[in-house]
Amino acid sequence: MNKIAAVVNRYRALFLVLVFAVLCALPFVIPKALYVRYACNILMFTTLAGSLNAINGYSGQTCLGQAGFFAIGAYTCAIFSTRFGLDFWLLLPIAGVLAALVGLIVSLPTLKLQGIYLSIVTLGASEIIRIIAQTWTPVTGGALGIKNIPYPWLFGLDTFRPKYYYFIFLIIGVVFLFVTNRVLRSRVGRAWISIREDQIAAKSLGVQTSFYKSLNFMYGAFWAGVIGCAYAPFVNYIEASQFSTDTGFNVLAMIVIGGQGTLVGPIVGSVIVTVLTESLRFLENWRYVIYALIIILMMWLRPQGIAGASHSMLAGGKIKRKPIRKGGAQEHV
């Protein structure tokens, strides 16, 4: 494992270009349209799980209501594009900003609360959003939902087909990873991680924890909104039950299984979970049982997930003592 990582690191740029090329070629290589759809799902969930990971994995707040932000994005797109004919690419940032605003409101309790209270608030908020979407019929279509959401423009490609819609998810996913990577390697990202690791210490170093937690929340909500906006035209029809808490837990399962606190984790998670759900379809309800068992098992064996940050609080608060390499280290204080 370490060897692979070392090789990847060494030829990082080359590796990334290669992966990107493969990803671009993928929809043309995959024979069945259905499988392309799965690939689209994976890409979409990569961003959605990534946005959740930006919150749970980096600032250590357990957000359970990502479905709510996702819904905000999807409904923004659906409502504005069907009623006012606004362009998809314009709606993308609007959806993000709206979701971020909701994220800000949801995160306001963080100024006073921590931990579990926050989780509950996010879960409650997501439920409230869903119920509003379900009942506010004049605007959201209520239980009937919104149909015929126009397909976005993409260089004249026929985005009606998943083969081409794929590239919208790909673009968003790549931008998301690129931007998040940059944020994490900055002062802001360090502040988030310091909050995750030890809030008291972070405060004593002058990190305004409330501000950074809110910012972190807004950031995660923003991307959930963006990907929600991209999701609506893809499925062409949205209604409230698509955004239930189970959707939220599904995304949560992805980062729990794939790994929190790394950028790769959510990707791994969304691949595993999507492939599992699709390939285990014949098991009907049993697949969810398997799913749940995997989550529990992950918590027992590897709480940070398959590709998660082993060196973090996420790994269970214990540090594996490694012998310090001899030689080099000398204290002379």
Binding site: V188, S194, E197, A201, S204, G206, M313, H332
Partner: protein
């Protein structure tokens, strides 16, 4: 040494009549303190004397029940820990609050937080502010690690280090704030005598570089030899604030702290 501080200068950190009650328990009762720039200020007292509580009030972790705290002439009572830290008051903790899962370098880098200003947009766009901040952070952190002698551990996870070294990481991290005053809560706890001595020398050398330091310590040798002013607390009350000699010769301190019948001088040996 202390006389030079007495010439009517404003103290750097000043506590006026600080009280802290936890329900009926008077953890700290009416304590005054003046720390002047350039001091190594020792706070001593038996266990449970309220030293750490007192510290926590100075850094905003606790809010005093009564009394005021001034820093550089500005009142900082009631400020949150992060605001206090932004005034360049750095501290370490009695029970070590380092980021165990981060490397030593990353630990110190987070300490640079208040010295840098780049925001989310800067980070995404890699603006000049971002690049400057990153350069500053890295350079500053490496410089501090060099200074404290931890450069060889820069990529080691902090939690993997020995206890004494972890304490140094915490001090290094506090130094990244470019503190005007450094509050150390029992820095020598858990260290062996050798480590303690080297820490003492290090603290003195920091002081020589112009850092003002306040230190809570149980190790009498440490306090008597390196501090120029000492505050003695007992049961939350101030017994004395003075030079080591004054502390040594004060009968009340002797009975309260060193115990009756024990010669203070013996403890210093």
């Amino acid at each position: 040494m202390s006389e030079r501080n007495m010439n009517g200068r404003t103290p750097l950190l000043e506590a006026q009549g600080i009280c802290k009650y936890f329900g009926g328990l008077k953890a700290v009762e009416n304590v005054d303190m003046k720390i002047y720039a350039g001091d190594i200020f020792g706070i001593i007292g038996p266990n449970g004397a309220g030293k750490t509580t007192f510290f926590n009030m100075c850094t905003g972790n606790f809010q005093p029940t009564k009394g005021k705290i001034f820093f550089d002439g500005e009142e900082i009572t009631g400020m949150s820990p992060e605001t206090v830290a932004q005034k360049h008051i750095a501290r370490t903790f009695q029970n070590l609050q380092i980021f165990k899962f981060m490397t030593v370098l990353e630990n110190v880098k987070i300490g640079c937080h208040i010295k840098t200003r780049s925001n989310l947009a800067d980070a995404i766009l890699h603006t000049r502010a971002y690049r400057e901040d990153e350069r500053y952070t890295t350079e500053k952190s490496l410089e501090i690690l060099n200074r404290i002698g931890l450069s060889s551990y820069r990529d080691t996870l902090a939690g993997n280090l020995s206890y004494g070294t972890q304490r140094k990481v915490e001090i290094a991290r506090a130094m990244a704030l470019e503190p005007k005053i450094l509050l150390l809560d029992e820095p020598a706890a858990g260290m062996n005598p050798l480590e303690t001595r080297s820490l003492m020398e290090f603290i003195q050398s920091l002081n020589a570089d112009g850092y003002t330091i306040a230190v809570i310590e149980h190790d009498m040798k440490f306090v008597m030899n390196s501090c120029n002013r000492i505050l003695v607390l007992n049961f939350g009350q101030k017994i004395l604030e003075g030079t080591p000699t004054e502390v040594k010769n004060n009968p009340e301190v002797q009975s309260a702290y060193f115990g009756k019948g024990m010669v203070a001088g013996e403890a210093i040996q």
